[in-house]
């Protein structure tokens, strides 16, 4: 019987593989992937692309415009902006992906349990979600950081927690309809334990909107984390973080616009890439969701 259910679950696979293949022919998704690939390579090859140490100060060379030595100029402490942006890419991608992974790791199981069991579990989970949803996203992350304190770990936790309610709501609503499908009834009738029904039949079918949400979520997480950094409440100096660079560079905008322009451009391009990818995936995986996320 176990092999039968496994075969049943596998049967859905070819469709999904096909969808991933189609991603490469979808202009929007492809552009997003291309930009992200570029950032990944830039982050990985940061020391090769810019020989400068991102935290090395040179007070003889502050706020210089772009030159051969410093292709994007230097900041108020004479640090190389290009090196700081490349190393910042590592940090931003790391924070974004990890925060969304955390939000999903908490939110998805909550949504599945809440939608599948209903009743008291649903009531408790939804009340908790309501409390989190009582705040605009950025304000929730900001409040959490205010309470937890600044620093890399706390930023990831704060941004991750603020992503939990979106995942929980989304998964719950898919599970509510999946629960009523005949294949779930069949699996239950066959005597599969609850965890097996949930893991093999409910969860895989609830994942499509989650994939879209995750892609858009990483963009949002990067935006929120950089916003915290901009306020001085994120990753602390001298770590090269895009938001913090922007916050520091802002004060020198009258003398030199470069220190505030390039980090902002980096954030914009990265967030846009995740939005492009998310929009593309949504078109491909589930056209009905268009405009709803």
């Amino acid at each position: 019987m176990a092999s039968w259910t496994r075969a049943y679950a596998w049967r859905e696979r070819p469709e999904r593989v096909e969808a991933w293949g189609r991603v490469l022919h979808h202009p929007t998704a492809l552009l997003g992937i291309a930009i992200l690939l570029g950032w990944t390579l830039a982050a990985a090859g940061a020391p090769l692309l810019s020989p400068h140490d991102p935290t090395h100060q040179d007070l003889e060379q502050v706020l210089r415009p772009p030159s051969v030595e410093h292709p994007l100029g230097t900041d108020h402490l004479g640090r190389d902006i290009l090196a700081r942006i490349l190393h910042g890419a590592r940090l931003s991608l790391f924070i974004g992906v990890l925060a969304v992974a955390l939000g999903g790791a908490v939110g998805i199981p909550l949504g599945v349990l809440s939608g599948y069991y209903g009743g008291l579990v649903d009531l408790l989970v939804q009340r908790a979600v309501d409390v989190l949803l009582a705040f605009p996203t950025f304000l929730l992350a900001l409040t959490l950081v205010a309470l937890l304190g600044v620093g890399l770990g706390n930023v990831i936790v704060a941004v991750g927690v603020s992503a939990v309610p979106r995942f929980a709501r989304l998964v719950r609503s898919s599970v509510l309809s999946i629960r009523e499908q005949t294949y779930v009834e069949a699996a239950r009738a066959l005597g599969l334990p609850d965890w097996a029904v949930l893991l093999r039949h409910v969860l895989p079918n609830a994942l499509t909107p989650v994939i879209v949400q995750a892609s858009l979520g990483v963009g949002l997480a990067i935006l929120v984390a950089a916003g915290l950094g901009f306020l001085g409440l994120g990753v602390q100096p001298p770590t090269p973080e895009w938001g913090a660079m922007l916050g520091e560079g802002r004060q020198y905008i009258f003398h030199s616009p470069y220190a505030a322009t390039f980090p902002g451009l980096a954030i914009f391009l990265t967030v846009m890439a995740f939005n492009l990818l998310g929009d593309g995936l949504r078109d491909l995986l589930d056209p009905r969701l268009r405009g709803t996320l």
Partner: protein, 309 residues
């Protein structure tokens, strides 16, 4: 009418429960901070006497449930405590900054709705044309743009280079322009996107074809038959966006030195002025909840089908 009243009471009770939970969570988080909360609240330069005074003032020497009871009673009386920085009542601090934030949020909302809705309608009526593609690109630009960077760019162009508009402060009417535009962009983009997709959905319906076949004027069909039916999801986005505007106001107010509660929140966090932080967080949550309630009530006005549902 009795149904409406019951619905309203039901919603208000639900709202009170949610806000009570929010208050409880904020209260617990603040009490479980590492270290002695009285010392944290008193600040680095406080004397032993100050710490003792604050400890008894906040009833920190009492058991936790008693503390929450007292805190809740205080809240019900509209007392949010005293600022650790200025020793002013938190309510007064918030009240003095509140109008600036509301002014900014309303200006942004009006801008976002008055540009976003027509833009969305335009995109939907010209679906898949170059114009639609242009509007979609603009939407993508809007949702990917960090507000804090947009603010800096606008300051650089319009205040530093062109010298048309002031870069900071709120002393002149023109001071509102750049912050409002900055704060509005994200909401504008999302409203455009939602209006477009909702209109596309409605324009496919049979009654639109019927209305057109009857020979009604195209603009009449578009707005009276189309937009009116497409408005419900747009209204939801408007409500949610008003909340997000409050969140975005924190960043926008910081960029433009706008004297609202968003900046007060950031300053208070940086100064570890926890009573003010707690007060502002509660005010934001209450405001967000009230706006969403208002949106739900407006549903009934816009669409009779959901009345009392």
């Amino acid at each position: 009418m009795a149904g409406l009243l019951r619905y309203l009471v039901q919603r208000l009770v639900g709202l009170a429960v949610s806000l009570g939970l929010v208050a409880l969570v904020v209260f617990l988080l603040l009490r479980t901070l590492p270290g002695d909360p009285a010392r944290v609240i008193a600040g680095v330069f406080a004397t032993e006497e100050d710490v003792r005074r604050i400890r008894s003032q906040l009833h920190l020497d009492r058991p936790l449930p008693v503390q929450f009871g007292l805190f809740a009673l205080q809240l019900l009386r509209g007392d949010l405590g005293v600022s650790a920085r200025t020793s002013e009542p938190v309510v007064r601090e918030i009240a003095s900054r509140f109008p600036a934030t509301v002014k900014l949020a309303i200006a942004s909302m009006l801008l976002a709705a008055s540009v976003g809705i027509p833009l969305g309608v335009l995109a939907a009526t010209r679906a898949r044309s170059p114009l639609d593609l242009g509007i979609s690109t603009f939407v993508l630009f809007g949702i990917s743009m960090p507000v804090y960077w947009l603010g800096i760019l606008l300051i650089f162009v319009f205040a530093v280079q062109l010298r048309w508009l002031p870069a900071a402060g709120a002393d002149r009417p023109a001071s509102l322009v750049l912050p409002a535009v900055t704060l509005a962009l994200l909401s504008l983009a999302l409203i455009t996107r939602m209006t477009r997709s909702s209109m596309l959905e409605v324009l496919r319906q049979d009654y639109i074809r019927t209305a057109r076949a009857k020979g009604l004027r195209p603009l009449h069909v578009l707005f009276r038959h189309g937009l009116q039916n497409a408005f419900l999801p747009v209204l939801t986005v408007l409500g949610l966006q008003f909340g997000e505007l409050l969140g975005g106001a924190v960043l926008t107010e910081t960029v433009f030195s706008w004297p609202g509660i968003g900046r007060l929140l950031v300053d208070s966090i940086l100064a570890r002025d926890y009573p003010v932080v707690q007060g502002i967080v509660l005010v934001f949550a209450a405001l967000f909840a009230l706006v969403n309630l208002l949106v739900d009530l407006l549903y009934g006005l816009v669409d009779p089908r959901v009345r009392m549902a």
